[in-house]
Each structure stands twice: as structure tokens, then as C-alpha cells.
Symmetry: C2
Subunit: 184 residues, 2 copies
DNA sequence: ATCCAAGCGGGACGAGTATCCCGATTGTGC
DNA sequence: GCACAATCGGGATACTCGTCCCGCTTGGAT
């Protein structure tokens, strides 16, 4: 691959990351091209479709989160690891409008991307959840889908106010719900 | 208004309700016209824009929910009233894809519609929440936006499985979080 | 039965967007 | 330097929708 092509590819990726984070997934490809200082043709040559572009970005972000999740799993007791992971996910995704949309379902399928063997977020997540369940830190009937749904709830909170205190409160409420035993 | 015009208006409203519930808010107007057996012109004459159509529908649904919420407020103790209202909202909205989208923010503004004086969902909701807070049934720092965010979370759960048991569990988890006191 | 305005159907139009294509340009091996 | 293939830019194309318009139809009052 020619050096300029490599530069352009990297630049498009960076700009797309920023743009999707700021404007959401509906940002036009032409806008990304403009900001990156290239033509639309250059974008679509490197990433044949818009989905291919978003996937490349998400793949990168997910792989970063997986690293931090593994650290948590290794250095904390099961309960703490799980709840810190929950907060970490929400904090990371909350500042990225594109990721929020993807999580909330109005976008492409994050799960499909997350199945990539080397970066398997799902496995780490399941491991953290299983550990927390076993340690009695979360109710035994909670599933991964429940956890994700609560994350989406925390992210939805951002629509009303970008108040960090409100975000913390939501995370706290969600975690309290996961922890509590079933009501009699 | 001529009798046939009245009939058509009603039919369009009914079909649009079903269609938005089943397909979501992105269902084309032309599709609604087709199902209603009328031309697109007929739809846009009765409802000048697509938003006007969705608003008419939401207005109707909200007014129904408000009636039931007022009943709850009148016949239950504050805590029970609030939690049953929470479950009621989720159950009602979960079966309507259009409403779910509107709640999750990827649509028009439900809050604006809900401000309609005679059908003020917000007031009832705030009243139920205040009552529950005062009775010590929910943590004192919870706001209406927090409650809505948790509802969105419960609705997000539906994307993975339409399992009624999972829905109940999510509602239970969310309510437990609202109830619990802040972690030390 | 007649008339005519209210109402209707559905095609025209325009906006927004992703994708493809091709003539112009530029990096790179020799 | 030179040649040429890889790469680029951005206009052309195709598609989906919402909204508007206009010639035809029909309800309902007389």
C-alpha cells in the first residue's frame, strides 16, 4: 500500500471516530470526507460501505475496553470488578454519541462485531458477571442482556442532562438493582 | 366535514397506530396510505406532516395512560402506586415499537406532547414520584429523568428477547434500584 | 336529477444520502 | 528524471422519502 494511501486511511479513521462521537452515526460520509480533507471516493475505497467504516471504529474501541476489563477482572475481587466494569462501560460510551446509538439498537449490531475472537468483549463480560453472581454480589437470575439493558438506561439519562452527578446516581441505582435480592 | 372524509381520517389514524407500533416510526407514509386503502394525498391533507400524524397518535395513547395513572394514584398507597405505574408504563410501551423509539429519543419529543394541559402526563408522574419519595418508598434523590431512563432500560431489554419473564425481572431490578438507599 | 365544492388518488418534485466511476494526479521502483 | 500503476477528487447516479399539486370523482344539499 502506498504511503499516502496509508496516511489517508488513518486520517479518515480518526476523523470518522471524532465525527461519529460528536454527531452520531447519521453523520454523512461526505461530511467525514470534508473534515478529513479528502474526497468521498477516497473514503469509500478504503471502506466500501458506511457500515464497514463504523465497524472498523467500533472494533478498535471495543478492543481497548476489553483490555481494561481484563485488568479489572485480574486485580479486583469478583463483585468490585463487575461493578467497576459496569461504570467503566457507561462512562466510556456516554461521551460517544455514535456508540450510544449503537448500544441502544438504532444502528448496526455491536454484538456481531464483539464476536471477533481476539477481542471478545462478550466473553469477558460473561466472565465478570459469572464471578459476581457466584460471589453473591449480584442476584443469581441476572443475565448479560439484563446488564446491557441497564447500561442503555444509564446512557439514556444523558439525553436530559449531561450532569456527571446524575450519571453517577444512575449507575448507583442500576448497580443497587442488580445487587438487591428479589422482593418478597 | 364530509362523511367520507371523516371515515378516511379515522381509518388512517387506526392504520398508522398499528403500523407505527409494528414497524416503528420510520415506516413510510406511503405504506400507511396503502394499508389504509387511500392515496398519499389523503393522508397529508388530514395530517400536513408525518410528525403531525405521530403526534395525534401519541396524544391519544398518552391520554389513556394518564387516566390509568390517576386511578393508581387514587386507589393505592404512594409506594405501590408509583411502582405499579412504572410497570404499567413499561408494559404499555414495550408492545409498541414506535412509542419505544420515541421514548428512547430517536424520534420526536414526547415531553412536548405530554405538556398538553388536559393530558399532562408529566404532572401525574411527578405527583406519583413525589408521593413515593415522601413515603420513603424510593430514594430521596431520584428525579423524573432518572425514572424515565430506567424505563428506557427496561424497554431496551425487549431487543434481545420478547420474554415476558425477562421483562418482569428487568422491572423488578429497576424498581429495586430506585428503592434501595445509597450504598455506603 | 343536478350541480359544485369538498375530497380523492397518485404522480411530480425536491432534498438528502450512499455508492460508483473516470479523468486527473502523484508516489515509487528503476 | 521517467513511466506507470496506484490513488485521488468529486461529479454522476440511484434510491428512499416527505410534501405538494392538479385533474378527476363524488357526497349531499337543493
Amino acid at each position: 500500500m502506498r504511503a499516502d494511501a496509508q496516511r489517508n486511511r488513518k486520517r479518515v479513521l480518526e476523523v470518522a471516530l471524532e465525527t461519529f462521537a460528536a454527531e452520531g452515526l447519521s453523520a454523512p460520509v461526505a461530511e467525514i470526507a470534508r473534515r478529513a480533507g479528502v474526497g468521498t471516493g477516497t473514503v469509500s475505497r478504503h471502506f466500501p460501505t458506511k457500515d464497514a467504516l463504523s465497524e472498523a471504529i467500533v472494533l478498535h474501541l471495543v478492543s481497548e475496553i476489553v483490555v481494561r476489563a481484563r485488568e479489572l477482572a485480574a486485580t479486583r475481587d469478583p463483585g468490585t470488578a463487575f461493578f467497576e466494569f459496569f461504570a467503566l462501560m457507561v462512562e466510556q460510551i456516554a461521551v460517544n454519541r455514535g456508540l450510544s446509538q449503537a448500544m441502544s439498537g438504532s444502528g448496526f449490531d455491536v454484538e456481531a462485531v464483539a464476536f471477533d475472537p481476539e477481542r471478545n468483549l462478550l466473553t469477558v463480560e460473561e466472565g465478570l458477571l459469572a464471578g459476581a453472581r457466584k460471589a453473591g454480589a449480584v442476584r443469581p437470575d441476572i443475565t448479560r442482556a439484563d446488564v446491557k439493558a441497564l447500561m442503555v438506561g444509564c446512557l439514556a439519562r444523558e439525553q436530559h442532562a449531561l450532569d456527571p452527578q446524575a450519571r453517577k446516581r444512575m449507575i448507583d441505582v442500576a448497580c443497587a438493582g442488580l445487587r438487591a435480592q428479589r422482593q418478597p
